[in-house]
Symmetry: C2
Subunit: 325 residues, 2 copies
């Protein structure tokens, strides 16, 4: 079944009782927090409950796994990478397998990852063969003196990471969206959830963010979006970690992710105050949303469009996965 | 004569008497301000006064022309583009003609331009044939729904802009630096002035910034630096316009240009306070500098390395071109 509009029934905007799923996590004395997203955009409420339910279940599985890893003491950096790998592997989301098609009918992927305490970051763009772009971004962070590498320059770091033919990323849903885009001949018709991401605070209070995307249906080959632009779609420092999703150009023109951190650092905003003001005041209405976590484990997930696939968990027992408000 | 270290005598750190050069400009009642840079980095004081003198004269010519255009009422956006075109055309600076060599012995250019009032921006990277990259960045701003286009995607907007063979960008100086880099086999030996840029406030109080570069000697093909990353090496909003120069990865990891604006917007810093704190506190020592102008026509040009080729002029009669303090 192909569900072009990523629709769902509103019953899936649910909060999962934490007792059943987070007992082990919340028994740890040290605090941690994690949020993930699977894209923001046009998510109509009226159709395709099966598709929405499947995505909610993927989000629940990823957030459960990520929470367990944080509870066991893994670093925020490792956990956001692992969470984004899982979202890349899920064909339901626009990153890795299931990435949207470019204008030319191919896939060009991009990803970024940043560690807050050290300020180290790595990003890769114009990727065509790397199965998990966020793993390559991590290698840029770990192994390269550079921050952003494109195409073959990035793929030289691939090492033992799996490479696949470009059409391995194909899915029926994304091909149908591409066909629809070609008929409309307009990127304005390519709206819909885009991008996956994760932000986390580990039990040492360190923060990290990671984002990965296939971009927008019908984008020209060579267009680079906000995801690999440090400060636009991805940011982490000692105060907060942020991953954005939506209309990339709006995030770039407003340095959206960095603005959340700057409002906290220089304006004294709370995490939720900063994140909400960026999404509701700086970004154009309908352009997307973001997830953010601060060094106290607070989580904020504002968006200014129909919906955002998102989930959050923490060591206090929070466990939720939502699409709409 | 090849001057590998971009050296000079300190006598060129001079302030030009404004009466001789700015009489026409300062007779205008409306205020304007402009600053330009030709790169920051290792600029030793002991050698090559001829090379330094030539660069100072280029800076003086460009700032004079730019000031006259602002005084005549041209927009900040048009003027920063024009100033950067002139700096690209000057073979003495690492942008356009005179760009450094990549590891492979070619040239890969990048540029960005941003208008402060509207927040519109355009950038291009991985360019190999466009004579004036900042003109192409302007076309991305004017003609594309995207912010950052790479390689052929950007060059599809080239229209009537001049294209040249890649070796047209060659100069004796940059080839010698590349040879030196190959012998050292280390990017650490590729320090030296990089990047050109301009920031301006026009007589309507609008701000704009533009930056252009050949990157770093010996960079791998596919490395994207801070110049085309909005918020890292280039930024403009209604409060300030910023163009950075130096170790690009440091500017990216600190969102340096946007941080200047954020300190002003949320922390209440003055332009000079914000710019100086970014350069002296956020960026690593020795990593570079930036030029910035605010909506009152104040100019700041801090750097944390040996020197920065820079010039400034305004409607009050300021006219200076400097290398060191």
């Amino acid at each position: 079944m192909v569900c072009l509009n990523d629709n769902d029934s509103s019953s899936l905007n649910r909060r999962i009782p934490q007792q059943a799923t987070c007992a082990t996590m919340s028994s740890m004395s040290k605090t941690w927090a994690i949020a993930i997203h699977g894209g923001a955009g046009v998510i109509e409420r009226s159709l395709c409950p099966e598709a929405a339910d499947l995505r909610i279940r993927v989000l629940e599985a990823v957030i459960t796994s990520a929470g367990a890893h944080l509870a066991s003491g893994q670093s925020a950096l490792d956990v956001v990478e692992h969470a984004v790998v899982q979202l890349e592997e899920a064909a339901e989301f626009n990153a890795g397998k299931g990435a949207v098609f470019t204008a030319e009918g191919r896939h060009e992927l991009e990803a970024a990852i940043m560690e807050g305490r050290s300020g180290t970051c790595g990003a890769a763009c114009l990727l065509t063969t790397v199965r998990n772009p966020v793993r390559l971004a991590r290698r840029v962070l770990d192994q390269s003196p550079h921050v952003l590498l494109a195409g073959q320059a990035a793929e030289q770091l691939v090492g033992d990471l799996e490479q696949v033919p470009n059409d391995w990323f194909d899915t029926e849903l994304r091909r149908a969206q591409w066909s629809q885009w070609k008929q409309a001949s307009s990127e304005a018709d390519a709206r819909g959830p885009a991008t996956v991401g994760a932000v986390a605070m580990d039990i040492n209070g360190h923060l990290a963010a990671a984002t990965s995307t296939g971009g927008r249906t019908g984008k020209p080959s060579g267009r680079i979006g906000d995801t690999p632009m440090i400060g636009a779609g991805t940011w982490a420092d000692e105060r907060c970690a942020v991953s954005g999703t939506g209309h990339g150009e709006a995030f770039m023109a407003t340095a959206a992710a960095h603005t959340v951190a700057a409002r906290m650092a220089y304006g004294g905003d709370s995490l939720d105050g900063a994140a909400s003001r960026v999404v509701q005041e700086a970004l154009p209405p309908g352009s997307g949303g973001l997830i953010a976590v601060d060094a106290h484990g607070e989580i904020s997930m504002p968006f200014n469009c129909e919906g955002m696939y998102r989930a959050a968990a923490d060591s206090k027992g929070r466990f939720e996965a939502k699409i709409w408000t």
